[in-house]
């Protein structure tokens, strides 16, 4: 096993993702500890320009028509080839849709250990030590592995930018000529609804709201505050609120002045989208809910009592 740290470079519409720069930042530290180099793995079609500015020592660029867009099996094929030829100590991949598809399939194909949902990584002698957020963020696992693959949660590491890696263009494996997946279309989110990223006050509802009919009490509070109701993933998946209102990894990242989380437990994917709000108040009957770790103030009183009481106080203050 070599000592290099590989980073899968994720890019969309010609832009490298922020998370990729975070992975490169961590890779620099790990490569220093392992005595290896930081190697950026860039896949695309006519996209070698993406390499410039990456904070890596070297970049391996694979060019193929099937790598123009993200096609899971094509990415896995390209990365598996690089990893099997060059045996890096560790390959860092973002815990995104791309990362989920690539990390697991690569682990199975290359027979390499994989640790998912990483929020910390270090090298201790012969071991890579990782912290992994499991059980919905309620528990952290400290694990060790000889090397392999780590998929990393966004926001875990300081980004590194600026660099001029030495570029090596690597021939695409033959398997990329026979991919079974065809990319048809990229669909942008629908407009028309309010933009929750532009709101100063968000009253956000989660599973604890119980049913679509109960969202009204959050709406009444939002009205009294001049804010807007947003939601966590289970609520939009249930169709109780439109997708445009979803806060979190697969929805929108928000940074309002006030974020009142109502019945939201605080899965890592949700926290990723709202932890930078200026004032976070969490209402959740489960005192162990991870939302309280990012909230500034919290209560375990029932949201069905607190919200109407707060709305009433706001309304009487206006009326006074």
């Amino acid at each position: 096993m070599a000592s290099d740290i590989f980073v899968l470079v994720e890019h969309h519409e010609g832009t490298v993702t922020d998370l990729t720069h975070e992975l490169l930042g961590k890779a620099r530290e790990l490569a220093g500890a392992a005595g290896g180099e930081v190697v950026a793995c860039v896949f695309g079609s006519g996209a070698s320009g993406l390499v410039s500015g990456l904070a890596a020592d070297r970049a391996l660029y694979v060019d193929h028509p099937s790598l123009e867009r993200f096609i899971p099996e094509a990415y896995v094929g390209a990365l598996a080839e690089l990893v099997s030829q060059r045996s890096p100590r560790l390959t860092l991949i973002g815990n995104t849709t791309v990362g989920m598809d690539v990390a697991g399939a690569l682990s199975a194909r290359a027979g390499l250990p994989l640790v998912a949902y990483c929020s910390a990584l270090s090298i201790e002698g012969d071991n890579v030590v990782a912290m992994s957020q499991v059980f919905g963020g309620k528990l952290t696992a400290e694990v060790e592995l000889a090397g392999g693959i780590a998929s990393v949660i966004a926001g875990s590491f300081e980004p590194a930018t600026g660099g001029s890696p030495q570029v090596e263009e690597v021939a695409a494996p033959a398997s990329l000529g026979d991919v079974k997946t065809k990319f048809s279309n990229r669909v942008e989110p629908e407009g028309g609804d309010v933009d929750i990223t532009e709101q100063g006050i968000l009253i956000s509802v989660g599973r604890g709201i119980g049913g679509a009919e109960n969202i009204e009490i959050a709406q009444e509070l939002a009205d009294a505050l001049g804010g807007v109701v947003s939601a966590s993933r289970p609520i939009t998946d249930s169709g109780w609120m439109p997708k445009t209102r979803q806060v979190g990894k697969s929805g929108s990242k928000v940074k309002p002045k006030l974020y009142i989380a109502c019945g939201i437990s605080g899965a890592p994917e949700h926290l990723e989208g709202m932890r930078d709000a200026e004032l976070i108040i969490a209402i959740n009957t489960d005192e162990g809910a991870p939302i309280f770790d990012v909230a500034h103030y919290g209560t375990t009183e029932d949201l069905f009592d607190v919200l109407p009481a707060l709305t009433e106080q706001l309304q009487s203050a206006v009326g006074a």
């Binding site: 096609i71 899971p72 099996e73 896995v76 995104t96 989920m100 598809d101 697991g104 682990s107 199975a108 390499l112 250990p113 640790v115 998912a116 992994s132 499991v134 059980f135 919905g136 309620k138 528990l139 696992a141 400290e142 694990v143 060790e144 392999g148 998929s151 079974k180 997946t181 990319f183 048809s184 990229r186 669909v187 989110p189 629908e190 505050l225 998946d237 249930s238 445009t244 697969s250 929108s252 002045k257 006030l258 437990s265 004032l279 108040i281 969490a282 489960d286 162990g288 309280f292 770790d293 990012v294 909230a295 103030y297 919290g298 375990t300 009183e301 607190v306 009481a309 203050a317 006074a320």
Partner: protein
Amino acid sequence: MNIVVPMMQTVDLVEELELNDAGTDVEREYLKFVANEWDEQALEEALLIKDASGATVTVVGLDEVDVDGTLYTALARGADKAVKLTGDFSEGVTSHQRSAILAEYLKGTSFDLVLIGVQSAEDLDGQTGVLLAGRLGLPHASVAVTVEPADGGVKVAQEMGAGIIHELTIQTPAVIGIQAARETPRYAPITRVRQAMQDGGLEQAAAPSVEGDSGVTVRRLFAPESTSHAEMLSGDADAVAGRIFELIRERGLAKA
């Protein structure tokens, strides 16, 4: 189209998560287990395909705590066949082990599509679906929110984050990790679940023995030492509401 939906039992996160004596896993003997919520989404998506085009849906689960209830409920919802793979899984099962068992099982069956929950609360060593796809050498897509039959395969809507969707056409056989079904998982009345239990339509087979070492060793499991914690507001709901009102007003965020 033959659709297989693997269903796993996972710790109910609503419960307090007690650890085992070694501190390396949750205490599986006493905790409550429920069906992985993403697997239930995968089942619903499979049933929607069945409703639209007459597919056959098979659910398969390892012999984990309360899996019978999950599998019978799946039958009551409309699955055609349920298979329980027996063995001793009391120590928990890694995603690598689970995917290895499922891969061996699937090699002996005829299927076009595997729909599986995109993740679970316990997949420390990766998500079962993509591991399974990697083992079987099949095309795959994770974080899918729509799967529909298409010529020679399926059309998949894959969520990329920030509301962006990629539409893919994938030749079958394939493995798709479902984030959310197009509709809320259907309800199975308890009478129908009981009927399914009385009919006893649960097939059993010994789980294939596999090498499924993940190469990842858990040193310890712990509740995250959060660097900060919310200041908890005391008093009843009215008092708490009053305190929140003050906090909002102090920052000039109230209308008044």
